[in-house]
Each structure stands twice: as structure tokens, then as C-alpha cells.
């Protein structure tokens, strides 16, 4: 940003942008959208769609805004008569072979062709007698379908696979009006990040099989969230319809994931829609559990904690929020504590074109946050200690059968703060229903110590509450108390009292693109430290 600034005027709006900025980005600064198809901020620009042609004063003809850099004193007209006429012509040509099957197209409602034709296309066609070219739907890979008829050949998908994913399996085959996106023989579009071509496609040509015919774009409610898949912490939007998560899509954050997310993260939403959730607090009454209200359950929890002495163990899921992990940890401050966070491991899958972006080996979104709060990933050790501890708090961990059997036989009091309950754990002292990350507000700290907020995307089942609420109520003591946090932001403020790394920071400061925490350790190289909103 220390670069030289140049002053340009776009549609009458003066802006100063760094030298070398393309006109299309300068126009964004001026609040003018230049219609475009092939241009994408995270991909190289080939200027093939000719949609972003704009009128530049003193230039002999219209200039493509995506590859023309701004020059001092330049005057650009995006919405002049000649630029509009050029765009109308481009749209007319694109529609010659476009099937106009919007009623059955999954992209309808978020289709750039639909938007721009509606905005500034011709009202009628001059190609009524012309038979549209037809090619059958092709299967490109595990989750991707290609509908050649709808393709406008912007080549975003080709460039993504070639320049960003570094797996050049797509190409433009044939030429002229017969051209289509081809796939190399004997190859599949099965790269770990290939799902991004569906998002990049401005029309409904590349479709996700998972999302096919599932929902209309306008039915979906989009919620800003963070991917719970791995320690990378990609920013995502959770799309829901009638309280059911339908899909997960990337949300741009230039500091973390640019515009991309991996296929693992995309498919990782089915657990959010589980129907077999615990909906009411259960207390043990002899040999069986009885459902009860929160007052009774919280009083029982407090009793359990007050009655025990010695050591306590927390077995937490890696998907727990910073707020929940912190307040649950504070519950057992009186004890000798072993706190572990569960970190499933998987294959690392980097996206080579973007530095420091990969599907990480550690498949827990809040590992760094848990470590800041005194948790360790030493699961087996904590499990062993649980067998002799006075109190064991299980925070929504996915226990395997051996773990369940061990906990069922543990001599101490076991309290389960969970979403589902296994049969083997029918004898635990107390079961408290908690929300998943899709049902609460909270924060995750990613591997670069960037703290990021996620928001509630769907309602919680029954009486389930966030774990920080349960811990906060118990910490505040019995009865109604003004000290107990009632929102995630208030819970977060309580963390700062005990862990200085969170002090002076609130949910409002974190914003929607996160903020890098100032921890004692050196920042990760290649990543700017400090606030970027």
C-alpha cells in the first residue's frame, strides 16, 4: 500500500488507487460494478469474455477493464452509451446458444448471466429460427457435473485448475461456436480443491452433484461462519433452508482462504443436521436417566463439582468454541486439571497456487485456541487420567467404543456436555445438551492464531444450550445472576480475565475476517500480523 497512488475518475467518482490496479478493481473502489465473466480477483485475467469493456477517454476504442491498468488522470465511463451497447452485444451473442433453462438450473438466482441479461440485455432475440447447439451433460468427477449447453467459456475453471490447483486437467476443446470445456482423457476432476470450479462458474455449467436439485438459491439463508474442518479456519458461509444445512460455500477472506475452500470442508456438514440429538438435560436417577429442567440440572452440576476433590479431566471436541473451552476450563480451576482436545488426523492437501492454504492434517478448527486455553492434544494420556479422576467432563467429544467403555467404568463422576449420547454412557451422572457450532455464536482460533467469529446458522434442538452458557451459569452460582454471560460476546470477555491473550478484545473487534492474536511466539512467516478487517 506504500506504492504510488494514481487518481482516476470512474463514472464521475474520483478515486485514488495504487499504481498497476486494473480498472475493474478501481471501479469497485468507486462503487461501480463493471459486469464481467472471465475476471476473478484470485485468478489471472485473460480478457476473453469481452464483457468488461469500458470507455476510457482519449483511448481509440473500448478497453477491457480487467487487464487495463489505471493511469494518472484517466477518465473512465462504465455506463456510457457505447460501453452499454458493447455489453448488450456480448450478451446477445452469449444467449445464441444458451438454453435458457433457468427453471431447472441450480444456478438460477445467483447466475451472473441471468443478472446481467436482466439488467442490460436485449428484450428479445434475433436468433429465433436458429437451432441451439446441444451437447449432453458430462460427468467430470466425484462431485462435479458439466452442462456444456450452459457454458459461456469464461475459462475460470480451466485457469483455476491450471494456475491455482496446479492440476491442469481441464482445457478448452474445439473452437468457435463448437468450443466446450474438455477434460483430459482418463482423468477425473478429483483434486481435493476441485469443488471451487462450481463456485467460480458464473453460470450453471459446472454443478455440484451434492447440491443438484436440492434447493433454489433464493430459498437459502446464508450465515457467515468458519469451516469446522481443520486448523486452517477457512471463512465460509453456511447455507440453510428451513433450519437444515444444505451446503457450505467459501466466504472471501484474502488473509486466510482467498475465495476458496476444499472439498472436505464442503462435504463436512451432514453432522449438523443430525436428528438424534439430546434435547433436554438428563440426570441420573438410580439406574436410569430422567429428563429435567435447567435449574435442576445446573444445581446438580454444581453439586458434583463441589462434592469432588482431587483431579479433574476435560475431554473436549476440537470443534468447541473458544468461549466454551475457556469457561468449562474455569469451572475446574479448583482441581488438578488435565484438559485434552480431540484432534482427528487426516491427509494434508495443499492448494499450491495460494501460499499457506491447505486442508491441514489436524482436523480440529480450534486446536490453537484450545492450546492457548491450556488444553493439550494428548488425548490418550487424558483418557488414562480420566480413569482415576474425581470429575470427568466430556465436552461433545466423539468417543470410540474403547473410550466409552473406559468412561462407563470410571470411578469418578462423569458429566457429559454433549449433542448425542451413546448407549454405553447410560450411567453417567449428568447429561447436558449442548449446541454444535452451527447453532451458536462463537470464535475459533486458527493455526496462525487468527481469531475468527462464526455465527448461528440454525436453531438449537430442544433445550440445548451452548457449553459456555452452562459453564457461565454454574460459575455465577445458583439462582438468576447478572454475572452469568448471556451472549457469546459476554462469555468471550470473561476469558480475558484469566488468559491475557484475549484481554482487551471483544467480538466487535474481531469483525468478519478475524484478527491475529498477539501471542508470545513469533508470527508465522509470510503472514502479515495485525488487524485486517
Amino acid at each position: 500500500m506504500a506504492d504510488e497512488l494514481v487518481n482516476v475518475t470512474i463514472d464521475g467518482m474520483p478515486v485514488s488507487v495504487p499504481k498497476g490496479t486494473p480498472i475493474i478493481e478501481a471501479a469497485k473502489q468507486a462503487g461501480v460494478l463493471v459486469p464481467h465473466y472471465c475476471y476473478h480477483p484470485s485468478l489471472p485475467s485473460p480478457a476473453v469474455c469481452r464483457m468488461c469493456l469500458v470507455e476510457v477517454e482519449k483511448a481509440p476504442k473500448l478497453m477491457p477493464a480487467c487487464v487495463t491498468s489505471v493511469v494518472e488522470g484517466q477518465v473512465v465511463h462504465v455506463n456510457s452509451a457505447s460501453a452499454k451497447k458493447a455489453r448488450e452485444g456480448v450478451l446477445e451473442l452469449l444467449l445464441i446458444n444458451h438454453p435458457l433453462d433457468c427453471p431447472i438450473c441450480d444456478q438460477a438466482g445467483e447466475c451472473e448471466l441471468q443478472d446481467y441479461v436482466f439488467q442490460e440485455g436485449r428484450a428479445g432475440t434475433r436468433y429465433a429460427e436458429y437451432a441451439k447447439r446441444y451437447s449432453p451433460v458430462e460427468d467430470f468427477g466425484p462431485d462435479i457435473l458439466y452442462v456444456p449447453n450452459r457454458c459461456i467459456l469464461c475459462t475460470r475453471c480451466v485457469r483455476f485448475m491450471e494456475d491455482v490447483a496446479d492440476a491442469p486437467v481441464l482445457n478448452v476443446s474445439e473452437r468457435g461456436d463448437r468450443a466446450y470445456i474438455g477434460i483430459s482423457e482418463e482423468q477425473k476432476l478429483d483434486h481435493a480443491w476441485s469443488g471451487n470450479v462450481v463456485d467460480l462458474c458464473p453460470v450453471g455449467s459446472l454443478l455440484s452433484k451434492d447440491f443438484l436439485h436440492k434447493a433454489r438459491a433464493w430459498d437459502l439463508d446464508k450465515t457467515a461462519s468458519v469451516c469446522p474442518g481443520c486448523t486452517q479456519g477457512c471463512n465460509v458461509s453456511i447455507d440453510t433452508r428451513d433450519d437444515v444445512v444444505i451446503r457450505i460455500r467459501p466466504r472471501p477472506n484474502l488473509e486466510v482462504n482467498r475465495h476458496f475452500m476444499c472439498d472436505y470442508g464442503r462435504a463436512n456438514y451432514r453432522w449438523m443436521n443430525r436428528g438424534d440429538r439430546i434435547e433436554a438435560p438428563l440426570v441420573r436417577d438410580g439406574a436410569r436417566h430422567t429428563a429435567t429442567d435447567w435449574d435442576t440440572a445446573l444445581a446438580r452440576f454444581e453439586q458434583v463439582l463441589r462434592g469432588a476433590s482431587g483431579s479433574a479431566v476435560i475431554l473436549a471436541t476440537g470443534r468447541a468454541s473458544t468461549e466454551s473451552l475457556g469457561l468449562v476450563r474455569r469451572l475446574v480451576d479448583r482441581f488438578e486439571v488435565a484438559a485434552a482436545v480431540q484432534v482427528p488426523l487426516g491427509e494434508e492437501a495443499p492448494l499450491s497456487g495460494v501460499p499457506n492454504l491447505a486442508l491441514r492434517r489436524e482436523r480440529a478448527p480450534n486446536l490453537a485456541g484450545a492450546e492457548l486455553l491450556g488444553y493439550t492434544p494428548q488425548w490418550a494420556a487424558a483418557m488414562r487420567q480420566a480413569l482415576s479422576a474425581a470429575v470427568v467432563i466430556v465436552l461433545d467429544a466423539d468417543l470410540d467404543q474403547a473410550d466409552e467403555a473406559a468412561l462407563a467404568a470410571a470411578p469418578g463422576m462423569v458429566v457429559l456436555l454433549g449433542t448425542v449420547i451413546a448407549d454405553a454412557l447410560r450411567n453417567v451422572e449428568l447429561v447436558l445438551p449442548v449446541t454444535t457450532m452451527a447453532e451458536e455464536n462463537g470464535t475459533y482460533v486458527n493455526r496462525d492464531h487468527r481469531i475468527q467469529r462464526y455465527q448461528q446458522a440454525k436453531s438449537q434442538p430442544g433445550m440445548a444450550r451452548p457449553a459456555w452458557w452452562i459453564a457461565g451459569e454454574v460459575l455465577a452460582g445458583p439462582g438468576p445472576s447478572a454475572d452469568a454471560p448471556s451472549t457469546a460476546a459476554e462469555a468471550f470477555e470473561l476469558l480475558g480475565e484469566r488468559w491475557p491473550v484475549f484481554a482487551g478484545l471483544g467480538h466487535g473487534d474481531i469483525g468478519y475476517t478475524g484478527r491475529v492474536l498477539r501471542t508470545g511466539s513469533a508470527p508465522v512467516p509470510g503472514r502479515a500480523e495485525g488487524a485486517a478487517r
Binding site: 433457468c102 427453471p103 431447472i104 438460477a108 451433460v137 443438484l212 436439485h213 436440492k214 433454489r216 433464493w218 430459498d219
Partner: protein, 168 residues
Amino acid sequence: MAIGVKVMRRPEREVSYVRATLKGMALTFKHMFEPKVTMQYPEQKSTTEWSISQRWRGTHRMLTDEQGRSKCVACGLCPQICPANCIKLVPGEDEQGNRYPLIYEIDEFRCVFCGYCQEVCPEEAIHVGVHFENAEYTRGRFVYDLERLQSQTHAVSTLWDPSDPQGE
């Protein structure tokens, strides 16, 4: 105390019922010889003078293609436009990979018969019908499923055409 009654003295021809009766009967008998305008409703549904408007918006009908399948492609525009929120639609995919409605239900009790569904339909599949005899024995029967909508045979509404406001 005696109640005083004032007796009005009116001419005989003004208070006689004979004259009024004859006048009334004359009107009655006059109508017997005039053209009849009553329609014998259940037996007779329309007459040359009166028939239901072609723009009438009544209970729905789903049109079908030559193979007898519904024309609906489950695009979702009618549930979206419906001001009464009375259309339930779940899209699915058939063996040929075509999109079609797995479930298509209209709750005719909720429907306000605005005709927007017909107007918005890109496939000219759903229509409001020229029909008004909807009585049923149970409330549940008023939720029309796809099969019922397809089996209706009444005429479909032409709606109001802005280019032809008089309907000529």
C-alpha cells in the same frame, strides 16, 4: 283515566285491501308471461345469458404433456411468489435426469386465488381453474396433491391480459 283514541277518517278507497290485493296479483301474473331469468342451478350450470367468466380464478389444475406427465419442472417460482404460502414443492430427479416435482401440494383453504402461480409459471403447468364447486366431506381433502391437480378437467383461467383489458 280513560285513554283517548284519535280515530282518523280516511276515504274508503284508500283503506280497502281489495284494491291493493288486485294490484299485487296483477304484478305477479304479469311476471308469469315475461321471459324467465332464473337458472335451475344444480341441473343447469350456465345459460346463454349467463356463464362463469373465463377469467375466473378457482381451484387449480396442473396441465400434463403428451406422455401424461405433469409439465411442472419444480423450478420453485410458484411457492416463492405465493402470497398465502399455500404451495408445497419438493424437487426430485427422474431416471432421465430431468427435474420434476416429487411432492407438489396446494392447500386450497390457504389459497387466496390471486392467480400469481399461473402468471409466474415458466412452463405453463400450474393454472387456476374456471371452477367453483369444491365441497368436500373432510378438511384434509382440500390439500390437492399432484395426482388430483392433474386429474382435474375443468377449463383453466385466461387471467386478465393487460394488452386486452376488455377481454375481447
